[in-house]
Each structure stands twice: as C-alpha cells, then as structure tokens.
C-alpha cells in the first residue's frame, strides 16, 4: 500500500457562496431586495419584524424567512401580523442559516408578488457572519441589554454588517449601557457601519427604521 496526496486548495465556503450568488441572481430577476437580519438571541429581531410587517408588510410586499434552531414560534408570531407568507426554516440545532436553506425557502414564496425579503437569521453572534445568504444588506441588531464591548468580542459579525440597529432603547435609563462607547466599539471594527436606534415597545426611532426599510426596497419599474 502507498499513500498518495491529492492537492486540492478548495475554499470550504465555495459551495455556499455559489448558492448565495444564485439566490442573489434569482432575487434580482424578480426585483426583490433581501435583508439578512442578525443578532444574538433575544435582541428583538422578531418584535421589530412584527412592527415592521404591521406597518409596511402590505405596502412594500414584504416576505419573511425565519430561521430557528428548534420550533417555528417566530414564524407563527410574524404570521399573525401579515397575510403574506412567512416561511420557517428549522435548522435542527445548526446555529445559522445557509444559502441552500434560503434557496429552498424561495421555492415556497411568490417572488413575483414580493419586493422585499427579510431573512431573520438564527440568533447567534458568531456563525451567521460566515454564511452568505444572497442578501444585499446585513442588519445587525444590538440590544442595550448586552455589553457595549460585543463588537470587539465578536468582530466578524460587526465587520460584516452594513447597519447596526440598537434595540430596546426604552431600557436605557435602567441599564448600565454606554451608547457612545458601544458606537465607538462598532466603528473600531467597521468604520463604514451606519446606525439606527429603536424601541419597538415605545415606538422610539421606528420612523427612521421604517424610512430605512422603504429605502431598501427597489422602486417598482414603470410598466
């Protein structure tokens, strides 16, 4: 017996990236913009999406794909706020969504009747950053109940975000969260990142959030 080495030098994420490119192309064909909504667990993704669907779901033809390790509780909550289809992906313990799962989910959505797709990723500040889902924009929620140093503890996630949205800002009087310090930490790992500040409970900053969502949606092409 002899041992033969076969040189490969293959990027391990290549397959996912190819699928993500296919998702991106498929969405572009239908004029659909996709947002990848990420955060640690409990940062308020589903609550912010509930408010977004109630305000803009019909007007902007928003479809939602939710990812959870177990249960489709988030999808059920969101479905109560929209007549539009909410597609649940239960990852069975895997800590992030991948492009294949999103591609499969698209098969169940009416893309011709969709202008904005919001993908609610699995709550996790590590893994989702490595997986391209075919989105145009990455939005990272950062709850004021977390530590200000999250950006330097989890730099890849903050590096990959286009926007950081501070959530639960109504709790700022009650928690020792230094917003300015948190912003500086974000800018330290990602100087180009932009910020929003919201409270889905008291409506603080939601007008700015809704404006951001409207800007993300591509204008309808004239017939």
């Amino acid at each position: 017996m002899t041992v033969r080495r076969i040189e490969l030098h293959e990027r391990i994420m290549a397959r996912n990236n190819e699928l993500a490119a296919a998702v991106r192309a498929r969405l572009a064909t239908h004029g659909v913009t996709a947002i990848n909504l990420m955060s640690s667990p409990g940062s308020g993704k589903t609550t912010l999406l509930e408010r977004t669907l109630a305000e803009l779901g019909e007007a902007l033809d928003i479809a939602v794909v939710t990812g959870d390790c177990q249960t489709q509780n988030d999808a059920d909550r969101l479905a109560a706020h929209t007549r539009r289809l909410v597609q649940a992906i239960v990852t069975g313990g895997i800590c992030h969504l991948d492009a294949l799962q999103v591609s499969d989910a698209l098969d169940h959505l009416d893309l011709a009747q969709t202008r904005l797709l919001i993908i609610e990723n699995v709550g996790n500040l590590i893994c989702p950053s490595a997986w391209d889902l075919g989105e145009q924009t990455r939005v990272l929620l950062f709850s004021v109940t977390e530590g200000e140093d999250k950006p330097v503890k989890y730099p890849r996630m903050f590096e990959s975000a286009n926007w950081v949205v501070f959530t639960k800002t109504d709790l700022l009087p009650y928690v020792p969260f230094d917003t300015e310090r948190a912003v500086q930490h974000c800018l330290r790992v990602n100087p180009a990142v932009r910020f929003l500040f919201v409270s889905a409970m008291t409506d603080g900053g939601l007008d700015e959030w809704f404006s951001f969502i409207r800007r993300e949606v591509a204008p309808v092409a004239p017939v």
Binding site: M1, T2, V3, R4, I6, L8, I12, I94, H96
Partner: protein, 86 residues
C-alpha cells in the same frame, strides 16, 4: 454548532472530489487561518466524527494553522493498493 456544519461541509466537498476513492482516504488536510472565525480544536473534534461516518472509514483530520483568514480544504491522502493483479 458552527464547527459541526463546517466539518460536514468539508466532508461533502472532499467526498465530491474523491468519488469512489472516499473509502480509501486516510487523511484530510485543512488550512485554518487565525482570522477565519473557526475554532481549530472544535473543528478537529467535529471532523473526526464526520470522517468516521460512512462512506468515510476513519480518515485522520490534519489541521494546518495559518496567520490570515484562509479556510481551505488543502489536500486529501488516499491509500493505493499496490498489490499486483491476480
């Protein structure tokens, strides 16, 4: 677990490259950069599990550290049968 899904992806990728030779594979070399976001010891643990599940027959994971953000399936080693045909 992040590294488990990465290990499964490595298994899929290597299996696609090896085809019918997957059962003869004795080692899988993976380059893991310091800034790749991958924890080498967790990946090695998961790879051992993946590579001992059919069609794999216990290939040894070999993790090669790097200073950048690379994350590559670098090589595979296959045991060839040198015995002369009957």
């Amino acid at each position: 677990m992040h590294e488990l899904s990465l290990a499964m992806e490595i298994g899929r990728l290597a299996e696609a490259k090896l085809g019918a030779s997957v059962a003869q594979c004795v080692a899988v070399g993976v380059e893991v950069g310091r800034r790749s976001g991958v924890e080498p010891s967790a990946l090695e643990f998961c790879l051992e599990s993946v590579l001992s599940t059919p069609p794999w027959t216990g290939a040894r994971p070999v993790l090669i550290s790097a200073d950048d953000d690379r994350f590559l399936l670098t090589w595979v080693e296959v045991e060839d049968d040198d015995s002369p045909p009957d």
